[in-house]
Symmetry: C2
Subunit: 339 residues, 2 copies
């Protein structure tokens, strides 16, 4: 049996540190716990999301993993905790709340969990400086970042110090949808932002990295994207056509976008077996790992069955279940016990 | 031989009417003609695009159509001429410049051209009132609209008067990328807007129509999208999952997004034969018509070969070449002479 690694699963602390200053309270996240098993995350005084112990309890997660045949979860912060909208020093307090939880869960069951931490990427130098400790002290494999950082796309050269440090340390970077840029100026219908614009923002992030030449400057970087790269797989043909028509986007990107895209990684969280098959066998072969968005309402349930339903060939199936995750994390996970 | 209908081809008048008032000049388009065969479109004093007689000359287009095996072009305005940023009365002057050119080209070669016109959709009632004349006097099959109208998504209920009139008249609506919403607040790398954000904006338009229940209110509408629906094909799984999770987006959309998406149309202009095959055979079977973006630099060259390279089954191939276009235009084109 091939192990199944879920690269896209979130955690959130049962308790969060208080706002360092009273004036931050209206935007500061706060857990209002109803019991040890249930709580509500408030942003200021507004309910952001009801949570339960799946977000912080290892044993509870292991139950679901056994049920779902998930061998290992790679834990990342609830994206709303990435805290790019605070002063970097204040944000670091929240980042470390997530980092401590993730490190302790991963340390408690080293055969079942790996961790991706949080850094205050609104200050790229501070984010770079935070990385060594996340690796050496917290034992994390990499970090999660947002698909934009306060409206700046991650392909912006301002983030080069962060990319340089991640490459140097061999830490992978998982780019997750967050506060979509396209939502800022429109009056969208209900639910439009999470369902339509999350994948749009991830594609925008990936395209900015491709067009900004990030992988040219940092060729050993391991970057992965949530939600199957969002809409990226549908626009690679156009990006390639544009690259050819503009002398490689005026020589900013040395290889075609689709070629560079095949140096990055994407999760399977697209909710469409046919599109997953297109990604995993045709558009981005070998670059798709499993991701579910556990434990949120929108998560892909029964991930093993979902992946199986795509009818992948044996090579692509093994890659989606464990191979691409191994490569992304920089660690051979093919011998992890299957569950 | 199956006819090949190019649903996505643009025209632009060799001469444009002058700005009605001097204060509009900085945004008013103006053709600066170098010869009868070449000219530059200026917006105010700034070069927008160099054009040549392919944009306005029927015989010149017919030469290319013969070379490319295109039986019929469906002509639509250069999107920059849609003029949503002017007062509707001023915009109507520019819309009618396009409408007159399109009508005259279509009338000159009724076996080779059809036309989609322009209306001042920034005023949905005025746009609705303009439609009957486009059909009866200009002989147009439908209209082209932008993927957003000054930042408003076309699924917004404000556009219902327009949709109602289009449905009532049996006029098709082709939604084309224009001034992407997502570009408004970012500082993108060069060429990011046309190559990455055009398809994003088209997907946003389509998702807003799906989530806004437009087809529920106007079930006989025939709506088509440029650029293969942009990124829509990659997010249908997520939209469906969201629809199921939210009681049909709180009962605003009666059918699932992917089901409703299969009532709309999309062109083949995705520059990726594998993704075209995914769209035409799997995601949106029977709903893809040929589109090239002729005569612009980014256009799909050799469209017959491109479509052929997708390796479509016979049914999908016939649909992409002529069947879906017939259905979209509301006219049987299968007997058009193949070229």
């Amino acid at each position: 049996m091939i192990p199944l690694i879920d690269l896209h699963s979130h955690v959130s602390p049962a308790m969060l540190p208080g706002s360092p200053r009273e004036e931050l309270q209206p935007r500061w996240p706060c857990m209002h716990c109803l019991s040890s098993q249930k709580g509500s995350l408030l942003i200021g005084d507004t309910l952001f999301r009801d949570l339960d112990w799946r977000s912080w309890d290892a044993d509870r997660r292991l139950e679901d993993m056994a049920r779902d045949g998930v061998s290992m979860q790679v834990l990342s912060p609830m994206p709303e905790l990435l805290s790019y909208w605070f002063d970097p020093k204040d944000a670091a307090v929240l980042c470390d709340a997530s980092n401590h939880l993730i490190a302790s869960l991963a340390a408690s069951h080293p055969a079942r969990f790996r961790g991706l931490g949080a850094v205050p990427l609104q200050d790229p130098v501070a984010a770079a400086q935070a990385l060594p400790r996340l690796k050496s002290e917290f034992g994390l494999s990499g970090v999660e970042i947002g698909s934009n950082i306060m409206g700046r796309l991650p392909g912006d050269a301002a983030f080069d110090p962060f990319w340089a440090a991640a490459e140097e340390l061999g830490m992978c970077v998982f780019v997750h949808a967050l506060h979509p840029v396209a939502a800022k100026t429109i009056d969208p219908p209900p639910f439009y932002v999470p369902f339509a614009l999350f994948p749009v923002d991830v594609a925008m992030a990936a395209a900015s990295i491709l067009m900004g030449g990030v992988l040219d400057r940092f060729p050993a970087l391991r970057i992965g994207f949530s939600h199957g790269g969002g809409a990226l797989g549908s626009i690679l043909g156009r990006l390639d056509t544009g690259w050819h028509a503009t002398d490689g986007f005026k020589q900013r990107a040395h290889a075609s976008p689709s070629a560079t895209a095949r140096q990055m990684f994407y999760d399977s969280n697209v909710y469409d077996p046919a599109y997953l098959k297109f990604l995993a066998e045709t558009a981005l072969p070998g670059r798709i790992f499993t991701g579910t968005d556990y434990p949120y309402d929108i998560m892909q349930r029964s991930p093993a069955e979902f992946i199986s339903s795509a009818g992948l060939d044996a090579r692509a199936l093994a890659s989606v279940r464990v191979g691409a995750a191994s490569e992304f994390l920089g660690e051979d996970l093919t011998q992890v016990m299957a569950h």
